[in-house]
């Protein structure tokens, strides 16, 4: 799916990385635990998470993961958006639950990593 399509199906608000919305991505990974997202080796899946603090951005930065979907009505702080922008990340916010967001992306053709 393109990032634009992902934003549409999740009815998500894109906070930064607007210039990257035409990128096409194949895989996604969902977790609220940050060490989990650091187990992914060289993959760069779309990350869905309900964890919404500076560590979300920091951890993704460490793992070279640069597309983040905040689910469960979580709202990113100004500080988070600034840091994500500096890193060239795409960050969006969806009001949907983790289950619904994952289900919709799976239905749209996004693949799991394992």
């Amino acid at each position: 799916m393109t990032l634009k399509e992902i934003a549409e199906v999740l009815e998500a608000k894109v906070l930064c990385g607007h210039d990257r919305l035409n990128e096409e991505h194949e895989s996604a990974f969902a977790s609220d635990l940050m060490s989990d997202v650091l187990t992914l080796g060289d993959y760069n899946p779309v990350i869905l998470t309900g964890l919404c603090n500076m560590q979300t951005i920091r951890t993704c930065e460490m793992g070279n993961l640069d597309i983040i979907v905040l689910v469960r009505r979580k709202k990113a702080s100004e500080e988070m958006i600034e840091e994500a922008e500096d890193e060239g990340m795409v960050v969006m916010e969806s009001d949907f639950s983790m289950f619904k967001a994952c289900g919709l992306l799976y239905q749209g053709g996004m693949q799991p990593i394992f």
């Binding site: 940050m34 060490s35 989990d36 964890l51 603090n53 920091r58 460490m62």
Partner: protein
């Protein structure tokens, strides 16, 4: 090149600052991006552990042409059973630490997976030292 950073107990606001600085340095030195990622993931896990589970400490990094050696030395309380702590899923993270997104019990196993050499030493009541080496070639 020798670099040093101090980290403080429960200082989640700055957790990752040292790892981030070392990431930038390695990038500037043109180290292969996949190797940079391995170093940074391992170091970040160790940095967060010193902040989340220990009373803070120091990070020492030595970079030369073909490898990086990083040592994270904290001020206690130490790990009573290192073998237990090294197993996937084992964690004593407090609710506060879990709220920050940590406590999967994946940090030490993650470190082991990403480095070429790992040496964890710990004395209860004194502190823990995590030394890791990643070779660039």
């Amino acid at each position: 090149m020798h670099l040093e950073y101090q980290v403080f107990e429960a200082d989640f606001v700055n957790a990752g600052a040292a790892s981030s600085a070392i990431k930038k340095t390695l990038k500037q030195l043109n180290v292969n991006p996949q190797i940079v990622k391995r170093v940074v993931v391992a170091l970040y896990e160790a940095e967060v552990n010193a902040i989340a589970h220990a009373y803070g400490g120091m990070i020492y990094a030595d970079i030369d042409a073909d490898k990086i050696i990083v040592k994270v030395v904290d001020k206690g309380p130490g790990i009573p059973d290192i073998e237990w702590a090294m197993q996937e899923g084992n964690s004593t993270a407090s609710p506060e630490v879990r709220n920050m997104g940590f406590g999967a019990g994946m940090g030490l196993p993650n470190i082991r997976k990403n480095v070429d050499r790992l040496d964890v030493q710990s004395t209860v009541g004194v502190g823990t030292s995590v030394e890791m080496e990643v070779r660039f070639v």
